[in-house]
């Protein structure tokens, strides 16, 4: 049923696009217009969406935040329909009222890129098993978390979380406490992945819009490193007080690794990220087809990983595709409903101009990333920051110029979106995946609000305030 729903949505979306591009070319009569271009060379003016069209986006984000907590039974069974329905409202409006199919196709292309990367990382890392037979010590835990932070930039926060959460729990078998998992979410599932577009979904969306791959590591490492160090210091202090380990058990000290072919899949996914006509000129541009060579490769890896991953490893990992299915459905709605929000924010930022400071961007992007999903929040604020400089987020050339002229804003937004994603369970996709894996192991995790008041507020907010004082005040 859900697969049919998904298929129907894409068929309708593509049909609308074809219909409109054929029969509705001459709509240019609006007072307020925004520039909405596919290539810097071809400009098409489109009417601004009505403010009310932000409602589906707001409704969807509120439901994502409250559904799993307040009406979990309804949400578990109906979230795909809710997401697709809200997205369809915006698609219908853009197709038949604004006749702006370009924005829809652009968004569809972006969605496929996004989900191709996430799903391929998810399926490839699901077929890898790491066993660590060592005695847990605070220092070993710090080393695992730091290692996770580093590899999150190579295989994504999703991949790193999937790969390391089980060995991390296993190592701490005799002394498992919720704080261990929470710090894992802080560092491996979020903050660690701030250095490359592969690291965290918001940065990948920025990369798709035209930000250079290595811009992030060049401009964020000197904030990343002290932040990780500070959080690890707090972790070390807390973990040193955990003396619950049972004595007597002997450890071989061995680290066992299985699933080497899935490492090859991960390498293919990473190489594929660069196979883009904007990065390598020889790569054919398949537009108007909404997926490119990169996505074809990454979806092929999904297929290969499903077909060839070792059953024993999948059983060990208790592999379940539900988390990525959830992300796929929710982001259909998020990507579609955020189109008007992005355009309106960009327009407003043009008007507000100088009133918006870099500190405002840091806190607004951050706090909203914590309570909403950080990927769409990042795009909204990137759009606003570009608008402040008179640039358009849909124009790759504008984004590239903004990387230099407005680098401090881009840095604040990137840091805010990635770091603050760790504020709540819903701030970033892997947070929920980790929670789910841990609960499947029988470990009770703190509630949504306990996570915030016991861990995020006392640990993260002071550190983020320090970042703000040093870099953006």
């Amino acid at each position: 049923m859900n697969k049919n729903l998904l298929l129907l949505f894409f068929i309708v979306l593509i049909s609308f696009s074809i219909f409109n591009s054929t029969f509705a070319q001459d709509v240019n009569n609006a007072k307020d217009t925004i520039t909405n271009v596919e290539k810097a060379t071809t400009e098409t003016k489109h009417e601004l969406p009505h403010t009310a069209m932000v409602i589906p986006f707001v409704v969807l984000l509120i439901m994502i935040a409250t559904g799993p907590i307040l009406y979990s039974h309804f949400w578990e069974h109906h979230y795909p329909k809710v997401s697709v329905f809200l997205g369809a409202i915006v698609v219908f409006y853009y197709s038949f009222f604004l006749h702006d199919t370009h924005s829809l196709m652009h968004t569809l292309t972006e969605y496929f890129s996004f989900i191709a990367l996430l799903s391929s990382l998810f399926f490839a890392s699901g077929g890898i098993m790491i066993k660590v037979d060592k005695k847990a010590t605070p220092l070993l835990n710090v080393a695992i978390l730091f290692f996770g932070a580093v590899i999150a930039n190579i295989i994504g926060t999703t991949g790193a979380s999937m790969l390391l959460i089980r060995p991390f729990i296993k190592v701490n078998h005799d002394r498992v406490r919720p704080y261990l998992i929470i710090f894992f979410i802080f560092i491996v599932s979020n903050i660690g992945g701030a250095l490359t577009p592969i690291g965290d979904p918001p940065l990948f969306l920025g990369f798709l819009r035209g930000i250079d791959f290595f811009w992030f590591i060049e401009h964020i490492w000197y904030i990343w490193f002290p932040t990780i160090a500070l959080i690890l210091l707090v972790f070390y202090f807390i973990d040193s007080r955990n003396k619950d380990s049972k004595s007597g058990k002997e450890y071989s000290g061995k680290i066992e690794f299985k699933g080497a072919k899935n490492l090859i899949y991960l390498a293919i996914i990473l190489v594929a990220v660069f196979i883009d006509p904007n990065v390598m000129s020889w790569v054919p541009d398949l537009s108007p087809f909404p997926i490119g060579i990169r996505e074809i490769i990454q979806f092929s890896v999904v297929f290969l990983a499903i077909k060839t991953s070792d059953n024993e490893i999948l059983k060990y990992n208790e592999f379940n595709a539900d988390p990525i299915k959830e992300v796929a459905y929710l982001f259909i709605g998020i990507f579609a409903t955020m189109i008007p929000a992005l355009q309106l924010i960009s327009h407003e930022a043009n008007i507000l101009g100088d009133k918006l400071t870099v500190g405002m961007f840091f806190w607004s992007t951050g706090l909203l990333s914590g309570v909403l999903d950080n990927a769409p929040t990042y795009l909204n604020f990137l759009s606003a920051a570009l608008g402040k400089f008179g640039f358009d987020i849909n124009v790759a050339a504008d984004v590239k110029e903004f990387m230099n002229t407005g680098y401090i804003f881009l840095q604040a937004i990137s840091v805010g979106a990635v770091f603050f994603g760790s504020l709540t369970y819903i701030g970033n996709g892997p947070n929920f995946m980790v929670k789910s894996i841990v609960e499947r192991a029988g470990i009770e995790m703190p509630s949504f609000f306990a996570y915030v008041y016991k861990y995020s507020l006392p640990i993260l907010i002071p550190i983020f305030a320090l970042i703000w004082l040093v870099f953006y005040f």
């Binding site: 498992v176 999948l314 208790e318 929670k435 009770e444």
Partner: protein
């Protein structure tokens, strides 16, 4: 009536029908993990699950699921901690971690939880 240990050693299977599992031994169930749902409250007034021990089997009803077959993926199992009825429930050595795997035709595989599988009492 077989004991839990005999059932595990002899690979005797149980049954499942919809949201109900039948285990061929008499046991006190202390904790069940199904998906992300950690169930420790087996009182019949609440959501979650209830346990009934008869002379011939122990049955568990999972209220929040209509059909266990649809809820669990190929690689997922139900995990539980059981104590043989009549044995000292307060002695941790008597707590037996068990996994239940859904097979076709209502067959339920009952195995000890392997060391590899993450499970915390």
């Amino acid at each position: 009536m077989k004991s839990i240990k005999e059932v595990l050693n002899e690979n005797i299977t149980g049954l499942y029908f919809g949201n109900r599992v039948l285990l061929p031994f008499k046991a006190e169930i202390l904790k069940v993990v199904i998906g992300t749902n950690i169930i420790t409250d087996f009182s019949k007034n609440l959501d979650g699950a209830s346990v009934r021990v008869t002379d011939f089997y122990t049955e568990i009803y999972f209220y929040e699921y209509e059909n266990l077959e649809e809820e669990l993926s190929e690689y997922e199992v139900i995990k539980l901690i059981a104590v043989q009825q009549g044995e000292d429930v307060f002695n941790f050595d008597n707590h037996i971690p068990i996994e239940l795997a859904i097979e076709s035709k209502h067959k339920l595989l009952i195995k000890p939880i392997p060391d590899d599988l993450l499970f915390f009492e």
